[in-house]
Symmetry: C2
Subunit: 283 residues, 2 copies
């Protein structure tokens, strides 16, 4: 028997995906949730695609074992490698961040080129280009790798002169384009949305619209659960559990930053490295 | 029977330890070597001490299985957690980077306070303070965490204005001190030695001596093998093998940067995650 109060599973390479989890919790307060941050192996954005896929399968298997009804991959780097194979055979639907982000950008754009900021792996995957071109084949897309944004946010330099300089340097890659919309293609980037907007305005000489995937993913989850008839009843208490694979000292402050308003989550420690390896034939 | 041509094992969380491996190869060209970079789980410097120790044990067990005669821990973060337990029961001596670095700094210093730059985990461990105070109990030590230096070096911004600004910001912590010597307590930092020296001179108003552990570790290895009577004969060919746990796209360029002059290493891919777990009772 299907249990509509089964939780939604959300994972990310670290804590950045809490921006997505928080949007889902606000949109769907009655839904239960398990959030998994793979803090023992973060970051994913500089690793090989094969390693990213292996880590993602460990995470998905852990959440599947925990009895989730829906899997949200709140990590652009993983979503960019494709979601196939993550929940195969389990009957669990999977929502990534790339397609909702691409759709949100097209909705926000006045028809001009779209820029995507992301990690090396995300940019090289061309995943945003593909997702945008599925919906609008002729739309020009400019993708920029911004590898220093994550460490700057993790250092807490969200409003620092250095962060503004780095943003100007990366966004200089858009000079001379007609870009009107920028996708924040990494869950850390919404924390420095203002700095990115300022640098973009300086480089392009005009305001541009900045979109992130968090709200779009929450809408997509709500739509999917509604169409599928598997949303939790409004009487459900929407219990949330937060787990990480490593708990370094500053985890509380970082989590509060990504979660935003309200009570900051508290975390349990889990090990996921042996999950799902048999099923993928590598163990 | 002991085989004096058995290789020296060297590991680091990533490729930065190649600065140490390169110094050993120059000092001891007849010695064989296996270098292991745990690129699938780099960086270690922001993780919990327990996770750092677990990863280090995987690496040490892999190298012990490969038949090394001596283990060099070319990672400050691991060395700072102590070397006990890494090669227990194997009879393999272990050399870290902290004590040789501390000794080199005391040799270089004119008697003033010593500064240590390192990762969060290294700085919090107080390992350099302890190593310096073993040799000179009254010597003042100032430790500064510099978490953005590693991503800046990995981005290749070795001479960038941003890197200079970040260095000035971190080294401002030394303003008003009488520091005369700075230890580069992370294997990435020698790549930006010039930028660090410039920022230090600006903050302190005078030149200071900058030391790194690479040469000191190579000297320590040479001394140990000599005293132990287990150096390779000068007729040995000193074969070197380089392995990593993940091979992302830019590994060749990064390796060449850390290895310095001469032929850049080529790498094999290995998995170490299941090594040594039985021995530590966690698997």
């Amino acid at each position: 028997m299907f249990d509509p109060t089964a939780p939604i599973g959300v994972f990310d390479s670290g804590l950045g995906g809490l921006t997505v989890a928080s949007a889902i919790a606000q949109r769907l307060p009655h839904e239960g949730m398990i959030y998994l941050g793979d803090t023992a192996r973060v970051p994913y954005g500089t690793r090989s695609p094969a390693t990213v896929v292996r880590y993602a399968r460990n995470n998905a298997a852990f959440l599947a074992d925990a009895g989730i009804k829906l899997l949200v991959v709140a990590c652009n780097t993983v979503s960019a490698q494709g979601l196939g194979g993550l929940a195969d055979g389990s009957g669990i639907p999977v929502v990534g961040v790339i397609r909702p982000g691409a759709r949100a950008a097209l909705d926000a754009s006045a028809g001009g080129p779209i820029a995507v900021l992301g990690t090396q792996v995300t940019v090289r995957s061309l995943a945003y280009e593909h997702a945008i071109h599925e919906l609008d084949p002729g739309r020009p897309v400019h993708a920029l790798a911004c590898p220093l944004f994550v460490p700057l946010v993790e250092e807490g330099w969200n409003n620092h002169t250095v962060t503004r300089m780095v943003a100007r340097e990366y966004l200089a890659g858009l000079a001379g384009t007609e870009v009107d919309t920028i996708i924040l293609g990494c869950t850390h980037y919404p924390i420095i949305r203002g700095v990115i907007a300022e640098a973009a305005a300086e480089v392009l000489g005009r305001e541009v619209t900045i979109v992130d995937s968090a709200t779009a993913v929450a809408d997509q989850v709500a739509t999917l659960l509604g169409e599928w008839g598997r949303g939790a009843p409004v009487t459900a208490e929407g219990r949330r559990r937060f787990v990480v694979t490593d708990a370094p000292d500053r985890i509380g402050a970082a989590a509060a930053q990504f979660w935003g308003g309200g009570d900051a989550p508290t975390f349990e420690h889990v090990d996921v490295t042996d999950r799902g390896v048999g099923a993928t034939g590598t163990g």
